[in-house]
């Protein structure tokens, strides 16, 4: 292990990296269908008794390769050169992809910043497709950035994967990490190629949800590239994985960027945004875009909130999306990271039920009217918030109509209602999984 901090960076032009490049090329060739079919035929020719079986064995091989391609069968292991774990540095490479929002990025950053706090000797490097690198700077985390494939015009997947593979291999060669952590819904082929055979690096996949036969489109083979699958819990009890894979499963509590003590004081945001201290402040985050459509959820909420004179609205704007138009009146816009930094300032929120928003609202006990997004495929937002609804910690709007919105806003404006929601939230508090994972990682490297 890389206990000895005197181990320095590797060099890109070290034989190691060039050798690695050829090694990976070799693995690729050996894995290719044409190579394997060719070898099969040659072996048969060399041993004529196998020639008799060829009409049966060859279709079987092709069928097997087909299954592997479909992810129904594991690809056989190929002989690999050995890398020496003793030469690893105390370094962790984290690879968050960009999903719809900040989910993957925030999760890894939450862990990374805690590792830095617990042990400043550990190097944490981001390798990411997310463009928000300035957020890493604040935490002193250096990053390699590779734009996502769609950022390039018509770049073939093969080309992009090759860049990923080469870049990660280079990062490995230089940083000699003890651990590699991926956070994304679907592992890129290029990334899998670069980590395959690197037995000296602990490979971790941080991923929400369970692997389920039929519903998961992830090939078993991709999962088996990882030594560990880390599954952060959600509001509902986790279901057990029902696919068979070799990786060990580690569970942790929901991962949040901030701990309660990091939240800014209540007056801070009010002073910054010019909101009277005695006003009731609602944080409204429902995805932008449709604010000009008066029938949209966000517009209905805004117009219902506007009827109450002591209510100010803070619209949450994402750093990734398009800008919100300015509305004026008692509406302000907040584009911070993370916006939960100001959760002390909000008397209540109206939000969708994404994983992060939900767990932040619960952890920081902010009374919430939740409008779950029903079209998020695998991410069952309604099931998530129903747990809080049952506990009395959130009000869930399954359909948005003027009357319903008016009714729930009137209720939540009542302090006694908010107090009881706060009490109910407190019963749902869990420790921060980011702290648990930071400690786990430090122990593992």
């Amino acid at each position: 292990m890389g206990d000895d901090s005197s181990i320095g960076f590797g060099r890109l032009d070290d034989a190691g990296s060039a050798e690695d490049k050829f090694r990976r090329e070799l693995v690729r060739i050996r894995k290719s269908a044409s190579f394997r079919v060719g070898v099969h035929i040659i072996t048969a020719v060399e041993r004529p008794w196998r020639l008799i079986l060829l009409p049966f064995s060859l279709p079987w091989l092709i069928f097997s390769i087909g299954l592997e391609r479909l992810g129904k069968k594991a690809i056989p292991e190929f002989e690999q050169p050995r890398f020496d774990a003793d030469k690893n540095r105390k370094s962790v490479i984290m690879f968050p992809t960009n999903g719809v929002g900040f989910g993957h990025f925030t999760r890894l950053l939450s862990i990374a910043r805690r590792i830095k706090k617990l042990d400043e000797d550990i190097e944490v490097i981001f390798f990411t497709t997310m463009p928000t690198l300035h957020l890493l700077k604040r935490e002193g985390i250096p990053a390699y950035h590779l734009p996502g494939r769609k950022k390039f015009n018509d770049m073939p997947a093969k080309t992009w994967n090759k860049i990923v593979e080469e870049n990660i291999a280079n990062v490995f060669a230089v940083h000699k990490p003890s651990m590699f952590i991926f956070d994304g819904a679907f592992p890129y082929r290029g990334m899998l190629n670069s980590i395959q055979g690197r037995d000296e690096i602990k490979k971790v996949w941080l991923r929400r949800g369970t692997f389920k036969k039929g519903s998961t489109k992830i090939p078993v083979d991709s999962i088996n590239h990882f030594d560990y699958i880390i599954t952060p819990k959600d509001s509902l009890e986790l279901e057990e994985h029902d696919m068979e894979f070799t990786s060990a499963v580690v569970k942790c509590d929901p991962i949040l960027y901030l701990d309660e003590i990091e939240l800014r004081p209540k007056e801070d945001l009010r002073n910054r945004l010019g909101i009277p201290h005695d006003a009731i402040v609602c944080y409204l985050q429902l995805g932008a875009g449709q604010i000009n459509d008066i029938e949209s959820d966000i517009s209905i909420c805004l117009s219902e909130l506007e009827r109450h004179e002591n209510v100010y609205v803070v619209l949450g704007e994402s750093m990734l999306g398009s800008r919100l138009p300015s509305i004026g009146g008692r509406v302000r816009v907040l584009t911070d990271y993370p916006n939960s930094m100001d959760f002390n300032a909000f008397d209540f929120t109206i939000m969708a039920a994404g994983y992060n928003s939900y767990h932040e609202a619960i952890r920081f006990s902010v009374p919430t009217i939740s409008i779950p997004n029903m079209n998020t495929g695998m991410d069952d937002q309604l099931a998530r918030v129903e747990v809080a609804e049952e506990a009395g910690a959130m009000i869930v709007l399954r359909e948005v109509s003027k009357r319903r919105v008016q009714a729930v806003i009137e209720r939540i404006l009542d302090e006694s209602v908010r107090d009881s929601m706060i009490k109910a939230s407190e019963k749902l508090h869990r420790p921060n999984g980011a702290n648990q994972m930071a400690k786990w990682i430090i122990d593992e490297i």
């Binding site: 399954r398 319903r404 008016q406 729930v408 009137e410 209720r411 006694s416 209602v417 009881s420």
Partner: protein, 434 residues
């Protein structure tokens, strides 16, 4: 009467045991029915924790009409409740008292309860109650023969819960203690809430009792409700058990509760018809008949001929309009007066209920005398909320109400003629549309 109990967490069974001087059939209209009453609570609620006074009050509400001279309760009650009960009850006494038992204690952060049914009146009550009100629905298990459809009530409860209220649906078969099935005492619908009062931290219990039931509006004569038997006897017992009455809509007529439900943001949860399914009333019952006319009057909409034809094709309504007075006749007077509809049947109805001569412009307003039956802690908030939807009666209008009497109308021969005219026409109408 002796009442025994057996319980386990989440379940309470009460046994009614008649004694010699009890009254199994208090009148020829009804008699005692089932003598084993079961209530199902949440799993984490242990009926052993119920304060004996609350338990005692619940038992009394279940068997009061059948008690002869005394009742022995499952657990001896406090001296406080015993004395309070004695003060307002002359017919019978409580047999067992625990001198050392402290009365129920209410903390300042306790919340108001409401015996909720899903209907218009209790929805109106919820609309004007504080937002932290805890509604409790008594869920009567069905025996198969009933016309009562729980779909609408369940949906109402579900909607209330989805608005973030701590809605409780508690299964209890106490209505079977009476034959024919019904509440032995009208406020017995609050029994689940009373039993759970400490668990739910309730400081009072509200009912959707409207002015027709409290002050006698639409009945023969005005009733001075706060000094009448219902309020002093039942209200007094509740008070001494530590769960006082709160009657937010006692000063509001059925017209007023319909207006509140129409205007209030939570009004959409109400369903008046207990036979239809959610959002689709049966259109064949007396309630549906009244509601169609009343809603049209409130919204100032006239009815087209098709609607009228369907409206009067209602056998149950025909039975009801043949009564003198008609149940809730005041509502029909007010509503038909506002509606200008050119239709023979409608005109006959209007004439019968005096909608052609009486307008009762005060009937959609709040009767301020009823302030006295609001729970003190919530009085101001409730009054404030009522004012959002309804005007307050002037002193002159209050006087009209206090002088309410239907005696002349009841005794008038013209009324009987008008009734006969209406009923025979309605009968022909129903026959021709079968």
């Amino acid at each position: 009467m002796k009442v025994g109990m057996i319980s386990e967490p989440g379940k309470l069974v009460l046994y009614l045991e008649l004694e010699e001087d009890d009254r199994p059939a208090p009148t020829d209209k009804y008699q005692i029915g089932k003598r084993i009453i079961t209530t199902i609570f949440p799993e984490d609620f242990d009926p052993e924790d119920i304060h004996p006074d609350l338990l005692g009050l619940s038992c009394i509400l279940i068997c009061e009409p059948f008690i002869g001279t005394r009742i022995t309760l499952p657990k001896p009650v406090s001296k406080h409740f015993y004395e309070g009960h004695k003060k307002v009850t002359s017919r019978y006494t409580i047999a067992n008292v625990d001198e050392k038992l402290k009365p129920r204690k209410i903390d300042s952060d306790y919340v108001p309860g409401l015996a909720f049914s899903g209907g218009v009146d209790s929805t109106a009550a919820l609309s004007v109650m504080p937002h932290n009100t805890v509604p409790v629905f008594l869920d009567r298990p069905l025996n198969g023969r009933s016309m009562y459809n729980k779909d609408a009530a369940y949906n109402s409860c579900n909607e209330v819960s989805r608005l973030g209220y701590n809605m409780n649906i508690i299964q209890c078969d106490l209505e079977y203690a009476r034959k024919p099935v019904g509440f032995p005492v009208d406020v017995a619908n609050s029994v689940p809430a009373i039993l759970m009062a400490d668990y739910l931290r309730l400081d009072s219990i509200a009912f959707g009792t409207i002015m027709e039931s409290s002050y006698g509006l639409g009945h023969k004569n005005y009733r001075d409700y706060p000094n009448g038997n219902h309020y002093t006897h039942l209200g007094g017992m509740f008070e001494s058990a530590g769960i006082p009455f709160n009657l937010p809509v006692a000063g509001i007529s059925e017209i007023g509760t319909s207006i509140i439900v129409e205007k209030s943001p939570i009004g959409f949860i109400a369903q008046s018809c207990m036979r239809g399914i959610w959002k689709s009333p049966c259109q064949n019952c007396w309630k549906c008949f009244r509601k169609l006319i009343l809603d049209a009057a409130i919204e100032d909409e006239n009815m087209d001929n098709d609607t009228i034809t369907r409206l009067f094709n209602n056998k149950e309504a025909m039975r009801f309009v043949s009564g003198i007075p008609i149940k809730h006749e005041n509502v029909l007077t007010w509503a038909t007066n506002k509606l200008k509809i050119d239709n023979e049947l409608f005109s006959l109805l209007k004439k019968r209920v005096r909608g052609d001569t009486h307008s009762f412009p005060w009937m959609n307003k709040w009767f301020p005398d009823s302030e006295i039956v609001l729970h003190e802690k919530y009085g101001d908030e409730i009054k404030h909320n009522i004012a959002r939807y309804l005007e307050t009666m002037t002193e002159e209008e209050c006087e009209y109400l206090r002088e309410w009497s239907m005696e002349d109308m009841i005794n008038s021969e013209q009324t009987a003629l008008d009734r006969d005219n209406l009923v025979s026409n309605m009968k022909d109408h129903i026959k021709s549309h079968q």
